[in-house]
Structure formats: structure tokens, C-alpha cells
């Protein structure tokens, strides 16, 4: 993929200023650092006719002094922009087939790591081309992961997708009420116009709004802010509905009830996506009942807070507590979890208990003579467990299995956990998963 890199010398320059200018001529920008950004070259060069024409248009669009490089990948484009600056020019366009030769002839000093450069120069590697010829494994062993990554970049293997940025900070609407209102219906009615205004602006920007931040303010400067996610996208009615929910919730909140009428409402679009993305992603996937459920989830989140409406999941691990995932329910799924498909030696077998006790219930495991059962250093039991004592009550055991020894995280002194697991069946019909470690015995979970 052809990429353009844009560098500006002026350190004082605010990136947003350049961004604002650039957005007049190109649609997608990846902001890299405070002095550099990348633009996918495909679309603008098709629009302007050629890369050269597009590059000229981009450079002319801004009044600040910038240099532009265009090449096959980000690293090469970045080098090209630097070369352009060094030659007192503004543009440097590297033809696709000459990309490797262009990068190969550049001095090693362009690598953004002085220490590695110094060693390489000492080894007689003066150009990026020589550096590229080294074997990846050798670079990794000698210089570490960071240098290995740079090596990949120099060899033209930049696989990072573009992180495109679309400014939408303008997508916020505010309304101040001349006569602050304490009446819910009045405020909600007043917000209708505002919601419509935001929807229009969002539509004009060619995007759809998925998340808004709603700010309510009273005469006494009390502020209530909450973020709302849409089931599909926000329209006027659903925005007004959110205003009503938030207001109802605020008025009911016994700790921070507003002491005066609402004087100001602000709605800001936090998360917008282009209509194109929306078509493939969200529409059609949600059935009617899913949409209804998502609306309900939003309502519940509004009532008890985002972190109280939880989504469950299963991850890899040894015991049921480890394998339980409880995270706030959001539309974005696929978070990083412990993989399930790895071997987890010492995993507690199915069927799994249905309830985990937090904190675990402290018990005593006693043998026939009434002594506490312990694990010897060889992992054997000091006696056969016959009685389980829970909060002073003794319960004879009708069945048990174990000890299943677990030596988890043995590599870390802090987190190391040596324990033994048991399944216990008491005479009153309860089945427990128990854990025995240096601190004594606990019931971790119940099977019924």
C-alpha cells in the first residue's frame, strides 16, 4: 500500500491545526507523533490524477512548512520526507519499484535508535541496505525486540494497519435555558430541538453516532455527566430518551440530587463511525430481540452504573475462580483473555460447581481422631478426612476425593500458590470444592 508521510519542522505547531488544513483535501489521516502524520496515498492520487498532483495539493493546503514523502510503506515514506527536507525540497516521491534501492542507499543513522546505530557502524554496517541483509534471527538475538522490529520495517515489512483519524470534535451541541426548569417534561421537551440539531450535524459529517456524552448542569453549577451507547445508532428520539433517563436517575439519586433547575444541556458525540463501516458492521446483525435487549442493557446501565451490569465468560485456567470472567457488558467484545485451548495441568474436572464463595468459607477438615487434616511435604494426607466443621457445626463426610495438588505460579515468589483441592460430599447432601493450603482449609465453591 502506498503511503505518504508528512513532516513539519515547527515544533510549536499544534497537530490539530495541520489536521484541520489537511482535512480539506484528504479524508483519512493517521497521526503518528506531534510532528508527523501518514496518509494512505491511494484515494487522493486517484482523485487528483497522480501521486505527484495529490502531493502538491496536500502540501499547498497548509500554510505551515511541511515536507512530504511518498513510498511503499510508512518507514520508506518517512525517510523520503526527511530526504526531501535535507535537499531543501518539499516533495520526494519514490517510485514503487525503486523502494528497496531507495531505502537501501540511505545511511544507517535514519534508524531512530542511536545505541543500535553506533554498534552497527562499529560492525561496518553503514547503510540501511546492509542492515536489511542481516538475518532477522541474528538481529533479534544481538539487539533485542525493538531492533528486530526496526529491521522488519527497513525490509519493507510493515504490517501494522493504518489507525485512521477523523476529527469530529465539532459534533457537540449545547443549549442553555433562560429560565431553568425543574420539570422533567419541560427539560426533555427542550432537549428535543438540541437532539435534532446534533443528528443533523452528524448526518452532514457523513457519519453515524454510536456513543454520546450527555452533560446536565444546574443553576448552582452542579454537573451530571454520563456516557450512553446506542443500540444501533442514535436518532433524535433515542437521544431524547437518554436525556429523560439521565434526568430521572439524577433526580432519584439521594446523594447528589440537583438543588436547582436544569440550566444547560450538552450532548457530544463521542464515538462516530462512517456510514460505510456501519452498513457492513451493525445493520442486519442484530435481531429485533437483540435490539430490545441492548436497549434494556443501556437502561440498566443508566440505573446502576456501567460497572454493575456484567457480562460473563469462560477463560482458560485451573480452578473455577480462575476460569470465570466477569466484565462490564459492552458492545465491544473479544477482549484479551487467558486462552482456553492450552493445557492447564491440574484443571478441576467437569462437572463444574455452580456457585463460587467470595470470600471462601473457612472450614476445618478433621480426621477420625479429630485432628486437622494436613498435607505432608510429599503431598500425602496426614489422615483420612471424616468430618467437615463449618461455623462450629460438624458434618460427617460421606465421600471425598483428593488431594489434587496444584503448584500454581511456582516461578514467582509473590504469587506462588501451593495448595491441594478436594471434592467433599457431606451427609446433608451438599457437594463442595475445598482447598487446603498452609493457611488451612476453605470451601471455594459449591456444586449445588
Amino acid at each position: 500500500m502506498r503511503v505518504m508521510a508528512l513532516k513539519w519542522q515547527d515544533e510549536q505547531l499544534v497537530p490539530e491545526q495541520v489536521m484541520g488544513d489537511l482535512m480539506q483535501v484528504v479524508a483519512d489521516i493517521e497521526v503518528h507523533s506531534s510532528a508527523q502524520c501518514f496518509i494512505p496515498a491511494g484515494a487522493p492520487s486517484r482523485f487528483y490524477g497522480s501521486e505527484l498532483k495529490a502531493a502538491r495539493a496536500i502540501v499547498r493546503s497548509t500554510t505551515s512548512k511541511v515536507t512530504l514523502g511518498c513510498a511503499n510503506d510508512r518507514f520508506a515514506a518517512q525517510c523520503a520526507a526527511q530526504v526531501a527536507g535535507a535537499r531543501k525540497g518539499r516533495l520526494c516521491i519514490v517510485p514503487p519499484e525503486q523502494n528497496a534501492t531507495f531505502v537501501g542507499e540511505l545511511p544507517i543513522g535514519l534508524l531512530d535508535n542511536p545505541e543500535v546505530c553506533e554498534v552497527l557502524v562499529g560492525l561496518g554496517v553503514y547503510t540501511l541496505g546492509k542492515f536489511a541483509e542481516l538475518s532477522p534471527a541474528a538481529v533479534r538475538t544481538r539487539f533485542g525486540a525493538e531492533a528486530a522490529f526496526m529491521h522488519e520495517l527497513v525490509r519493507g515489512r510493515d504490517r501494522r494497519p493504518m489507525q485512521l483519524f477523523r476529527p469530529h470534535s465539532v459534533l457537540a451541541v449545547v443549549r442553555e435555558f433562560e429560565s431553568p426548569s425543574v420539570d422533567i417534561d419541560g427539560v426533555v421537551y427542550g432537549s428535543r430541538l438540541l437532539a435534532g440539531q446534533l443528528c443533523l450535524e452528524v448526518e452532514h459529517a457523513g457519519v453515524a453516532c454510536l456513543e454520546v456524552e450527555l452533560t446536565l448542569e444546574t443553576e448552582h453549577d452542579e454537573v451530571h455527566v454520563r456516557r450512553w451507547r446506542a443500540v444501533t445508532i442514535f436518532d433524535q428520539d433515542s437521544l431524547v430518551e437518554r436525556v429523560r433517563w439521565q434526568l430521572e436517575h439524577w433526580l432519584r439519586d439521594s446523594h447528589s440530587r440537583p438543588s436547582a433547575g436544569i440550566s444547560k444541556i450538552k450532548i457530544e458525540a463521542i464515538h462516530v463511525v462512517s456510514l460505510k463501516e456501519l452498513q457492513s458492521g451493525l445493520w442486519g446483525e442484530l435481531s429485533e430481540s437483540d435490539q430490545r435487549a441492548h436497549r434494556g442493557l443501556d437502561r440498566m446501565r443508566g440505573l446502576v452504573g456501567v460497572d454493575q451490569v456484567l457480562e460473563v465468560g469462560v477463560q482458560g485456567g485451573r480452578d473455577p475462580r480462575d476460569r470465570t470472567v466477569l466484565v462490564p457488558h459492552t458492545e465491544a467484545s473479544g477482549r484479551e483473555r487467558q486462552p482456553k485451548n492450552r493445557p492447564w495441568p491440574g484443571q478441576i474436572p467437569a462437572p463444574s460447581p455452580v456457585t463460587i464463595h467470595t470470600p471462601p468459607v473457612v472450614i476445618d477438615l478433621l480426621d477420625r481422631e479429630g485432628r486437622a487434616v494436613e498435607i505432608t511435604s510429599r503431598g500425602n494426607l496426614s489422615g483420612s478426612p471424616t468430618v467437615l466443621r463449618k461455623s462450629g457445626k460438624q458434618m460427617p463426610l460421606t465421600g471425598w476425593a483428593g488431594p489434587w495438588l496444584a503448584d500454581a505460579r511456582w516461578w514467582s515468589e509473590q504469587d506462588q500458590q501451593r495448595c491441594a483441592w478436594f471434592q467433599m460430599l457431606t451427609a446433608d447432601g451438599h457437594a463442595y470444592l475445598c482447598r487446603l493450603d498452609a493457611d488451612g482449609a476453605v470451601i471455594e465453591a459449591s456444586y449445588d
Binding site: 440498566m300 440505573l303 456484567l310 460473563v312 457488558h329 484443571q347 455452580v354 476425593a401 456444586y447
Partner: protein, 260 residues
């Protein structure tokens, strides 16, 4: 301990002739005609009539069907499970089939639920193509462990949007007027309400686990492999008892060994 090869959750019912069939075959209902017992009278319904019935009914596993007058959880109806030995196991098995059918379930006031148990219970059923993976089914299980503030409002919002709402009445301690408000919401919405614990006389169907037995565990040997729940239900209207036995775990594949 790493004995994971045998498929889990071969659930079957002793009250049905299908007891020796595998769980997969069990989840299919006879397509043409279904015989429903309503108030003791046998009604034979044709498949064409079943369409509208099916919509107001949330299917449960075939093993639990005998408990319900209409063979499933009815939308707009409250049923209770006595908070007793085996109640959570029953609940997990009751919810597993609707979850596998892509129904939305919300559990309010439950802390310490083990998602793994739900996943194992769902694993026995054939999933529809649109359902995707087991983990995507669990996304439809929404937990609100401690609804601070107004629990009634949260349950109300859940009733309006979910297919099944489960509440833990011993934790939530709802006031009588909250109950009546929920009952009104329930009638106008399409959710089924399950109450664990006392339901203040509002449950139209009361279930309880009469007996629970465990298999596979010896004294210092074996491990828990299967569970047998004997469940009894009673309708408020005609005080009729229904009963079924649910077997959970690796029952069928395992030479049954009594633990006691």
C-alpha cells in the same frame, strides 16, 4: 483429573422414553404433533397450532418439560424455585436450553455464579447456525450482582427487554408494592420471571428440588461425575403436582456408582 474426553452433560429424563438417546437427539421435538397435558385433559395440537403457542413459550430442556403445564416457561408468568439444596443446579439447567436458543437472560442479585457451569450445561445441546460459539451464547447472560439503589427499577428494565429474568429474592428483599409493579410490567411484556426463594405468593408455578444425589465420589477415590435431581412442581391454580428427574453430568457414559 484431566479426564476431559467424555462429553459432558448428557442430560436425560426418566419420565420420557427418550432416556437412552443422546442429548443431541433429545433436543429435537417431534415436529408434527405434540401432546400437551393441560389441567389433566389431553389435548392434541397440530403443528400449525404450535406456531402461535411456541411464541408465548420459552422452550426448556426436554428433561424439565414435565414440570411445566405447557411444557415450557410461559412469557408473562412468574415461577419460583425454593432456595434449597440443588436449587442453583436446577436453575443452571433450566437456563441452559434457552441460552442455547439465543434467548436473553438476566440474573439480578446473584453473586458467585460460575459461567463455566452454564457453558458445560449448554454444551450438550446442538446450537443453531446463527448462534455461533458457546462463548457468544454466554454474552446473552447478563449479570447484575448487586443492584444498588432501586432494585425494582433494574428488574423492571430487565423485564421489559429480556426473555428471562431471574431474581434472588433473599438478597433483594423487594417490598410488596415493588412486587405488584413488577407483576404489572410482566403482564405487558414478553419476559418470564424466575424467582429463587420466596415470591410472596406471586409465583404461578413453584418448583423445588425434592432430592439430590451425587455419583462418582468414593471415600478418597473417584470424583464427582453426575448429579441426579428429583424436582417437583406445583401450580398455584389447580394445586397439581408434577415431577421429573434430571440427570446432569456423565451419567450415561459412566457405570453408576452410588456415593451413599
Amino acid at each position: 483429573m484431566t479426564d476431559q474426553a467424555t462429553p459432558f452433560s448428557a442430560v436425560r429424563s426418566t419420565s420420557s422414553v427418550a432416556s437412552t438417546r443422546s442429548a443431541g437427539a433429545n433436543s429435537q421435538i417431534s415436529p408434527s404433533v405434540e401432546i400437551a397435558l393441560v389441567g389433566g385433559a389431553v389435548q392434541v395440537r397440530k403443528a400449525s397450532d404450535l406456531g402461535e403457542v411456541a411464541d408465548s413459550l420459552i422452550p426448556v430442556t426436554p428433561q424439565l418439560k414435565p414440570l411445566f403445564p405447557r411444557g415450557g416457561l410461559e412469557r408473562g408468568v412468574t415461577c419460583s424455585i425454593r432456595a434449597d439444596l440443588g436449587a442453583m443446579s436446577l436453575l443452571v439447567n433450566l437456563l441452559a436450553y434457552p441460552l442455547a436458543q439465543e434467548k436473553w437472560v438476566s440474573m439480578v442479585g446473584f453473586s458467585g455464579c460460575v459461567p463455566l457451569a452454564f457453558e458445560e450445561a449448554c454444551a450438550g445441546f446442538e446450537l443453531s447456525e446463527s448462534a455461533g460459539s458457546l462463548s457468544s451464547l454466554l454474552r446473552r447472560l447478563v449479570m447484575v450482582p448487586s443492584p444498588v439503589g432501586d432494585a425494582g427499577e433494574v428488574i423492571g428494565a430487565a423485564i421489559e427487554s429480556m426473555d428471562i429474568v431471574v431474581i434472588n429474592s433473599s438478597v433483594l428483599k423487594l417490598a410488596p408494592r415493588v412486587w405488584s409493579r413488577l407483576a404489572a410490567k410482566l403482564r405487558s411484556s414478553g419476559a418470564a420471571l424466575i424467582v429463587l426463594g420466596a415470591a410472596q405468593g406471586r409465583a404461578e408455578l413453584e418448583c423445588r428440588v425434592v432430592e439430590q444425589r451425587w455419583f462418582g465420589l468414593g471415600r478418597g477415590q473417584g470424583r464427582l461425575r453426575a448429579q441426579e435431581l428429583q424436582v417437583r412442581s406445583r401450580t398455584k391454580r389447580d394445586a397439581q403436582f408434577r415431577e421429573c428427574v434430571v440427570e446432569v453430568g456423565q451419567h450415561a457414559s459412566y457405570g453408576i456408582e452410588m456415593a451413599r
